[in-house]
Each structure stands twice: as structure tokens, then as C-alpha cells.
């Protein structure tokens, strides 16, 4: 069920489902989409805590909150507020970037880290794009890059109620605030990934055209205890596109580490 809490003066809306070990899920730039299958599948195994990031859906976005650093501290505060112990930290896409920024700072409340197709680091040269410019291509081209089966990503916006459309518009604006420049990465993050002292699983959609599996290998090379698994028939959002495979792999990793 959805609830609202106040962390560091920021009113956050969050979903909580299931019981068992706590799992903090940080959502992609596209939003949480709690109505999709992935969340209930995860909730069969874990107590899933999934905030809407500040600026997405009904979570507040104060003017001062400007960077992914701020989000990392906000969610470390959330983990303390919820008294999480031995928790799993899971971030997808933009949420993976936030999770990595948390994990280089403080991992006391977490036992494992799972990053699904994360944004956030710079690998290539000045004129190489590690991360597709999602804001410079048509919605159709974006769907082709982000999904193995673009039809699965289609949403008929014209049929949604105004409140939901407003949530989408807010989320798009917030995603730009945090990720516009430098584009969807922190130039320094890669140099601190060695600080991550958790067993780490990188899950990657095989057909991800936003950040490729090669980019995933660069993440793997920087994190000491990282393994990488590639999910077939999935693009940038494997938890949406192949939720069963995604959750199975995550559960196996959690149980064996």
C-alpha cells in the first residue's frame, strides 16, 4: 500500500509490499509503475520499500534538492528512519545511479547491492556516448532502444486521467533536473566505485540500447565483488520486460551471497 513519510523535510510517497528481508527499490527515470507485475513478484520474497523519487508522482521536490547526491543522502536517511538491517539495495536505470551513490557513502544497513541497467558513470571519451541521449530522439526511437519488444513499452497517454498525466509530467521534469547536465552521469562516480564493499549483482537487459552490456562490464570492472548476468529478451527495463526471470536471478543471488 502507498503511504507518505517525511524525510529531511521532504514529503515522500512510497509503496510497501510483502514481508521478510527488507529490500529498498529505487525506480527508473520513467517512474515506479507499481501496478505492473514486478512488484508483486518481488513482494513474494521480500518486504519491498519503494519510494517515488522527489518530483515523481506525488513526492515533493523542494527547490534546494538538485542533485543525485541529495537523493543518495535522502535514501540513506530513509534507510535509517525505517531501521533497515541486512537489507537489499536494488536500483534500476536512474535508480541504479542513486543506489551506487548511496553504496559509495555508507553500506551499513545493506547486505547486498543489485543494479539493473544503471545510469551514472562515464566510461568513454569526450565524443563517445555511453548513455543514449533519450531527450534528443523521438518517442518511437526511444521505445526501440529501451525495449526488446517496443510494443511492451507503449502507453496510451491520451486515455490516462489528468492526475496521472500530471505525475508523468512532473517525473519528466524531475528526471531532467537531476540528469540533464552532465547527461545522466556523475563524472566522479566511477572513481569511487571501489568503495562499494557489498556483494553486487549487475543485471542487464541483453537488448538494452540506452546503456549497453559493454557499459555494464565497465561497472563490473570497478566494483570489487561484482558479478554480471545478462537477461535475454529484455531491454533497458528487465524488471518490467522479464519480471519472472529478473526476480528469479535476484533471489538466487541473494540466497547464495
Amino acid at each position: 500500500m502507498a503511504r507518505s513519510i517525511n524525510i529531511a523535510g521532504v514529503s515522500l510517497e512510497l509503496e510497501q509490499r510483502g514481508s521478510g528481508r527488507p529490500l529498498l527499490f529505487l525506480h527508473p527515470g520513467e517512474g515506479l509503475q507499481p501496478q505492473l507485475e514486478w512488484l508483486d513478484l518481488l513482494a513474494r520474497h521480500f518486504r519491498v520499500i519503494a519510494p517515488h523519487h522527489p518530483g515523481w508522482s506525488n513526492s515533493a521536490l523542494p527547490d534546494w534538492l538538485m542533485t543525485v547526491d541529495d537523493l543518495a543522502y535522502l535514501y540513506l536517511d530513509l534507510a535509517a528512519f525505517e531501521a533497515l538491517e541486512n537489507a537489499i539495495l536494488l536500483g534500476a536505470c536512474f535508480g541504479g545511479w542513486i543506489a551506487a551513490e548511496m553504496a559509495i557513502r555508507d553500506t551499513r544497513r545493506f547486505a547486498q547491492l543489485v543494479l539493473a541497467d544503471p545510469l551514472g558513470i562515464k566510461v568513454g571519451g569526450f565524443t563517445e556516448r555511453d548513455i543514449a541521449d533519450m531527450h534528443a530522439i523521438s518517442r518511437e526511437d526511444y521505445a526501440r532502444l529501451a525495449w526488446a519488444d517496443p510494443a511492451k513499452g507503449e502507453r496510451d497517454l491520451m486515455r490516462l486521467p489528468d492526475t496521472e498525466l500530471a505525475g508523468i509530467a512532473r517525473g519528466r521534469e524531475a528526471f531532467a533536473r537531476f540528469g540533464w547536465k552532465p547527461y545522466m552521469h556523475n563524472p566522479r562516480l566511477r572513481h569511487w566505485l571501489h568503495r562499494i564493499d557489498l556483494p553486487t549483482l549487475l543485471l542487464w537487459g541483453e537488448q538494452d540500447g540506452i546503456v549497453s552490456t559493454t557499459y555494464g562490464q565497465a561497472w563490473q570492472a570497478e566494483i570489487r565483488a561484482a558479478q554480471m548476468q545478462v537477461i535475454p529478451h529484455a531491454g533497458h527495463f528487465p524488471h518490467w520486460e522479464q519480471p519472472k526471470d529478473f526476480v528469479d536471478r535476484l533471489v538466487r543471488f541473494v540466497e547464495s551471497n
Binding site: 531527450h135 521534469e173 531532467a176
Partner: protein, 397 residues
């Protein structure tokens, strides 16, 4: 009413390539640009600006980036030349896209320098900029208006502070010693203009007493002017026509046919300007949440449609000159006809004090452009200038 001649200094030889590609902006490669051809065009356009001074017109310059529609990349650079080539014309920068500029103090310096160079003839537009300017500038659209207002306040403070350095530790801009030299001739600063198309812009401009300008559609302009006047009344003052500006294509000829032909050619500017690749038309945060909800509900192809005076939808990319006249985008005909059209328009708007005259749209040749400027400057503008003595209340029906 003051009349300001305006040309984007188009690079029209690349328009066909841009139309074929579906965008004239942002992603049209400069392989479509021939520098020797542009050398001739830029010098010709500057000659046309200089002519305005001889026939008694004021002058406006704007800037765009990465586009075949406009070669002016820097308003101060163009106005520096025009200031030297003119003696009487007031010079309107409309303007500097201050939320896309990393250094507002540099903007204040350049504007002050222009005011000094021109002998106090500068009018200073501080503009938000079009949505497709975000990508070339790579400025963050989600914080655009916060940056705009911080830059606006800093620029005006920098121009009007004369007792030594001040510091600025803002959200977006940081300076330890702001102390600009030269300072402007006009005190406390040259007149400030804003541009927009919304009621909110009208209110915000009224709160500062700035001139507000809009373009191309009377249907959009009227609510903005009304909002300005109402907000001014709420704040205890009456906003006269001198606070309202409107940009339109104007074609004047010895005959009606000649005026319409010239307007039709200039209107190619209006037809090409909206041809922009879809991702750059609405960057996230550029428009309000409410406007974005409306855009999502309307579907992706609804932009660039305006209503004519009968309420019909007109697509600017394909409109005829007559349709443009019905949306108040174009005024055209003989000097008498053009005067009547603009006067009637001003009355319908409740009184406007500035006409920004699009007099060059690419394919209009130099001879036609200069004839258009001369006829407008000598036959139309003097009669419009006398309109400015009418108070807004008398002009409103």
C-alpha cells in the same frame, strides 16, 4: 506606436534541405551551409538594417542557434555593427536568452557597452528563449525559469550598482566582485523587455513594469496583454500601449498585389520556423505541468496550430498569406491598407505601442526588401507613430 524593423538574417539556401529532413534546427548539419554565400547575405542584411535608420525606423535584432532560419548567433555582436552604422534608430535586443547563458555579468557588461556605444539608444530584451534553444545551449530546462529570474535580477543589479563591487551567492550564479565597467548611459538601466505567449508572462512582466512582446497571433496576444493591464491595475498603475509589443510580418507595395507578394515571401519565415524535430519542441520543464498535461491529451502533432479571427484552426507551416492575415500574423497591402490593418489590430488588442516588423524572410530579394522598408518607413510608420498619443482606454472598444 513605434515601429521596429526586424530580420533574423536567414540562411534560406538551406531551407529545402531542412524541410526535406523535417527540421531546420538543432540537427540539420552545417554541410548545408556555404560560408561564401553567407558572407554576401550577412552583409546584405546589415545594409538593410542600416537603411532603416535613414527612413526613420527603429531596429530589433534577435538570435538563434544551430539553425538555417537565423544566422545571428549573438545579439550584441550584430547590434555593435548596427550601432555604428546608425545615428537615430533605437536598438532593441530581443533578446538575450539569459537562462541559457552561463555568465549574466557578461550579459550586463555587453549591454552596458552597447548603450554607451550607441549613445543611450539600447532597449534590452531579457528572454526565456524558444524550446529548441535548450539543446544547442545544453541548459537545464527543468530549472530554466529559476535561472532566468536569478540572471534577470543580477543583470539589473549589476547595471544599476555604482558604488563598488557587490557579491552574489545565488542558487545558480556565483560572483565575489560584481563591478561592471562601463555602466550604461540610461538610468538605472536601458528599458527592459520580456517575451512570451502566456497569461503568466503578462502578469510577471506587469509586476516589473517591463515591456512585453509576443508574436504572430492576435488570439494568443490579447489574453496576455489583458493580463498585463489587469495586473498593473491591481498594483496601482495603468499600463499604457507603450508596454505592449507585437511582432508581425509586414508587406507593403505600391499595389495591394505587390504588398501581398512581398508578405507572402517574408511569411516563408513563419512557415519554416516551426519545422523542428519533435524531441526539441517541448523539453521537460520548459512548459508548465498544466501545459504538459494539455499537450499529452492533445497528442503529439497538435503544436503550431493557431486560431484565426473566426475561430478556424490554421497550421502555420502551410498557411496562405490570406490565412496569415486572418490570424494577425501578416499585415499586407498598400500603405493605406497596412496602416488601417495595424490600427484596427491595435484597437482590438486594447492598444499596442510597438510593432515589430518582420521585413525579411529569406527569399525576399534585396530590392524588394529595401522597397518594403522604404514604403513602410515613409508611408506607414509616421502615421502609426501618431497613434501612440491615444491612451489605451480610448483605443479599447
Amino acid at each position: 506606436m513605434r515601429c521596429w524593423y526586424f530580420s533574423e538574417m536567414a540562411y534560406h539556401p538551406a531551407w529545402e534541405a531542412g524541410l526535406a529532413r523535417g527540421t531546420l534546427r538543432v540537427v540539420l548539419p552545417s554541410s548545408n551551409f556555404d560560408p561564401p554565400t553567407a558572407h554576401g547575405l550577412l552583409n546584405r542584411y546589415l545594409d538593410e538594417f542600416a537603411l532603416c535608420d535613414e527612413v526613420g525606423l527603429d531596429i530589433m535584432v534577435n538570435e538563434h542557434h544551430s539553425t538555417a532560419t537565423c544566422m545571428t548567433v549573438s545579439v550584441p555582436m550584430a547590434l555593435a555593427i548596427i550601432a555604428r552604422e546608425t545615428k537615430r534608430a533605437r536598438l532593441l535586443s530581443l533578446g538575450t536568452p539569459i537562462a541559457n547563458r552561463p555568465d549574466p555579468v557578461r550579459v550586463a557588461e555587453e549591454m552596458a557597452w552597447l548603450d554607451v556605444l550607441s549613445g543611450g539608444r539600447l532597449e534590452m530584451g531579457l528572454v526565456k528563449g524558444a524550446p529548441y534553444e535548450i539543446q544547442p545551449a545544453n541548459s537545464n530546462p527543468a530549472t530554466l525559469m529559476r535561472r532566468y529570474w536569478e540572471a534577470h535580477d543580477l543583470i539589473l543589479k549589476a547595471m544599476s550598482t555604482h558604488d563598488g563591487p557587490f557579491n552574489w551567492e545565488g542558487e545558480f550564479f556565483h560572483y565575489r566582485s560584481v563591478n561592471i565597467w562601463p555602466k550604461p548611459i540610461q538610468k538605472p538601466a536601458p528599458p527592459v523587455w520580456m517575451t512570451g505567449m502566456s497569461v503568466d508572462t503578462g502578469k510577471l512582466a506587469a509586476e516589473r513594469g517591463h515591456v512585453v512582446g509576443t508574436l504572430l497571433s492576435g488570439g494568443t496576444a490579447k489574453p496576455m496583454y489583458d493580463a498585463y493591464r489587469q495586473r498593473a491595475r491591481e498594483l496601482g498603475w495603468d499600463a499604457g500601449p507603450d508596454r505592449m509589443a507585437f511582432a508581425a510580418v509586414v508587406g507593403v507595395g505600391a499595389t495591394r498585389e505587390e504588398g501581398l507578394r512581398r508578405a507572402d515571401q517574408i511569411a516563408d519565415y513563419v512557415r519554416t520556423a516551426p519545422v523542428v524535430a519533435e524531441p526539441f519542441t517541448n523539453p521537460p520543464g520548459y512548459n508548465s505541468i498544466g501545459a504538459n498535461v494539455a499537450i499529452m491529451k492533445a497528442g503529439p502533432r497538435a503544436h503550431r496550430i493557431v486560431k484565426d479571427r473566426q475561430g478556424n484552426s490554421i497550421d502555420h507551416r502551410r498557411a496562405t498569406v490570406q490565412q496569415f492575415m486572418d490570424t494577425d500574423t501578416v499585415f499586407a497591402g498598400t500603405p493605406d491598407e497596412v496602416f488601417q490593418q495595424i490600427r484596427d489590430f491595435s484597437i482590438r488588442m486594447g492598444g499596442i505601442g510597438h510593432l515589430l516588423f518582420f521585413g525579411q524572410g529569406g527569399h525576399l530579394g534585396h530590392e524588394d526588401a529595401t522597397e518594403n522598408i522604404k514604403l513602410f518607413g515613409r508611408e506607414v510608420a509616421p502615421r502609426l507613430r501618431d497613434l501612440s498619443v491615444e491612451p489605451a482606454s480610448a483605443a479599447a472598444e
